[in-house]
């Protein structure tokens, strides 16, 4: 693979890397006929991002020399800390770099990033990479019934009110209102937590299609990178989602690039009101969303604390008036899965996934070729897996080579 970026394109590429670095420590560089895909996934496999640069984005883009087999060249996995420093200072790149050439050299196992700078100065970086399968998340965002679209500025303004230390937020949508609230972890004294809620009228969105009332809780930290990228390009952001427990996809696109971040969402506790632990236990089915319910459900039996959903409640300013929130536990229940039963149920649920038809994978994040990592990390009880994934053994649909399409 060989591509050439000029001036401003280098800065955009750098910004994409910054956004991806918020997700994970490794970068997948996957050259395809559709363009160059940069992808990252977090260690918990609950967040995935993909930036696809079409060939038009580059001054020159070619996949591979004739000697390389197949449709494309090598898919590379790089450490983010190898490549990010090259693009760390975007202002200096803007000032100094005239062109940037990125190529993959198979014989030497190197990704070569060459900056042609002002005054004839050339900077060449030969970065080690690991050959890898392309990273893919199979997520048909176009099948999501609920869609919001807003200028990046609007979403940035909304999230700005949450401190950068805020991990998770809840997006609550009804046909009449959209609000963002911070998600309080169980265990934190509710009287000591600052509660923030921001609401918007559907009219503020460029596009608003919401069928049902929903609360989606997801990790904000991993989204900030994309929002900042979108804002710097003044691109509108589309939010595609179906229900709680199923992933939400934030995406932007323009003529030459598409970027999306897919985040797992917390399984909704139940329909409003405190629930009986038994009710939330769903039979083992082939849908991994239900497996997630199962996961949370089995822990509910242990905790027995009242659970209520944070959204849809009218929160009064005074602390006396506001209800005490004990939202569905996020991390805690997963830590409690110590008993073999818990793992067994999960194992069963996921074992059944290997025979699922393609349609039921809509609700999960599936990753190719991470099976070796999954074996060691996947069901580690310390990892908060919000969305289940199947093992890479079954052949993944070959046509899903691109980023989740809009």
């Amino acid at each position: 693979m060989n591509c050439l970026l000029e001036g401003n394109g280098v800065k955009v590429f750098g910004k994409a890397l910054h956004a991806l670095s918020r997700i994970g420590d490794a970068l997948w560089l996957d050259p395809t006929v559709k363009g160059l895909a940069l992808r990252a996934v977090n260690s918990a496999h609950s967040a995935y991002a993909c930036f696809l640069f079409s060939p038009l984005f580059f001054q020159h883009y070619s996949l591979g020399s004739g000697s390389e087999q197949g449709s494309g060249s090598v898919n590379c996995k790089l450490l983010m800390k190898s490549i990010l420093p090259l693009f760390r200072c975007l202002t200096s790149i803007e000032r100094n770099v005239e062109r940037c050439q990125i190529s993959v050299s198979t014989p030497s196992d190197r990704v070569v990033v060459q900056f042609f700078c002002r005054h004839g100065i050339t900077k060449t970086h030969n970065l080690r990479f690991q050959e890898s399968e392309a990273l893919q998340a199979v997520f048909a965002s176009h099948l999501c019934p609920n869609v919001l679209k807003a200028p990046a500025r609007l979403l940035c303004d909304m999230v700005m009110h949450f401190p950068s230390s805020q991990e998770e937020i809840t997006l609550s949508v009804t046909p009449l209102r959209v609000s963002l609230t911070n998600y309080c972890e169980e265990g934190k004294d509710p009287m000591r937590t600052m509660y923030t809620e921001m609401s918007l009228h559907p009219d503020e969105f460029d596009f608003f299609q919401v069928g049902v009332d929903l609360d989606l809780t997801f990790c904000l930290k991993e989204l900030r990178g994309l929002l900042s990228f979108a804002e710097s390009h003044s691109l509108p952001v589309s939010v595609n989602f179906s229900t709680a427990g199923k992933p939400v996809c934030f995406s932007v696109e323009d003529v030459v690039l598409e970027a999306s971040v897919v985040l797992a969402t917390l399984m909704d506790s139940e329909s409003r009101g405190p629930s009986q632990p038994a009710e939330t236990l769903a039979p083992v089915t082939s849908r991994c969303a239900d497996a997630a319910v199962l996961l949370v459900g089995s822990c509910e039996a242990d905790s027995g604390e009242p659970r209520c959903t944070p959204a849809v409640m009218d929160l009064v300013a005074s602390s006396q008036g506001s209800p005490i929130i004990s939202p569905p536990p996020l991390m805690l229940p997963l830590l409690q899965i110590d008993e073999p039963n818990g793992l067994g149920e999960l194992g069963e649920a996921c074992a059944s996934l290997t025979t699922t038809p393609a349609s039921s994978t809509i609700c999960s994040l599936l990753f190719n070729a991470l099976s070796s990592e999954q074996d060691s990390d996947g069901y580690d009880s310390r990892l908060p897996v919000l969305a289940c994934y199947s093992d890479g053994e079954e052949s993944m649909e070959e046509d899903h080579t691109g980023s989740p399409s809009l």
């Binding site: 100094n96 005054h119 970086h125």
Partner: protein, 279 residues
């Protein structure tokens, strides 16, 4: 100024008296060589030279000519002593190093000779502080025997082009390799780190290359830990000359303009880590 009204009689006892209206003109340049605590001061009628060394492989010198000082009186041909440079810098910025224009710390540095402390009179806004810093027997600075006759390759670059490269250098690389050649790549800085290697190439006809005189292709490696401190000198400078001799020893000379636009020099000498003669 209170300092300058000190009686002549007092001055008689000092072998060295150096005064500066703006102590920053001295402290800034000393910061460029502060990678070790101990510094050797050598004063001659030409001015002041401050030397710092590291592991017998690296030497940094700061030259402040007599003309830079408002007053520079020396009673001997050579006055030498050793002091703790960090302590000296702390004293020079004892008034907090304010950057309000027009306000500066005035300095009067006095030395009575062997066995006496270095006395600093510092004044700002009418307040005078007297600091006495213990001195030691000066060690003999290493003579790197770097002479112009043995220089094989020399370039002078505008610092601006090197500053970015130095700040981006891959610190996981143990060495910094410098290649100088009359043919491609002309002048190249290379690192070999955990992620891979990097090369910074400066062509001989670049606008940043003020002088290019390379007679022989030479590649030498220097310990990164030794050269990294030179980044401070680079940051202060407007031009840098890079020279290597037939042994592969490196000389970096930085032209520094102080607050008042006067010129001072800082130079670094470094031994090669291993000599790699390019074919």
């Amino acid at each position: 100024m209170p300092l300058s009204t000190q009686s002549q009689a007092d001055d008689e006892q000092y072998v060295l008296v150096a005064s500066m209206d703006n102590a920053r003109n001295l402290s800034n340049i000393l910061k460029a060589i502060t990678f070790k605590d101990q510094a050797i001061f050598s004063a001659t009628p030409n001015g002041l030279k401050v030397t710092v060394e590291d592991s017998k492989c690296l030497q940094a010198n700061a030259f402040i000519q007599a003309e830079i000082f408002q007053e520079f009186t020396i009673k001997e041909d050579l006055v030498g002593f050793q002091v703790n440079l960090t302590v000296l810098l702390d004293c020079l910025s004892i008034f907090g190093g304010s950057t309000v224009p027009g306000v500066s710390t005035a300095l009067r540095m006095c030395y009575k000779g062997y066995g006496y402390p270095l006395t600093l009179f510092l004044e700002e806004g009418g307040v005078v502080t007297v600091c006495k810093i213990n001195t030691q027997e000066p060690e003999e600075p290493i003579d790197f025997e770097f002479c112009s006759n043995n220089v094989t390759n020399k370039v002078i670059l505008l610092s601006e082009s090197l500053k970015e490269a130095f700040s981006e250098l891959d610190m996981t690389s143990e060495v910094l390799q410098i290649t100088m050649s009359p043919s491609q790549p002309y002048f190249r800085l290379s690192t070999f780190g955990n992620s891979g290697n990097a090369h910074y190439d400066y062509p001989k006809d670049s606008e940043m290359m003020e002088l290019f005189k390379c007679t022989k292709t030479q590649t030498n490696r220097y310990k990164m830990s030794l050269l990294k401190p030179s980044t401070k000198a680079l940051a202060l400078s407007c031009k840098v000359s890079v020279r290597t001799d037939i042994r592969g020893f490196l000389s970096l000379q930085y032209l520094v303009r102080n607050d008042d636009g006067q010129i001072c020099f800082v130079e670094y000498y470094c031994c090669p880590d291993e000599e790699v003669e390019e074919e």
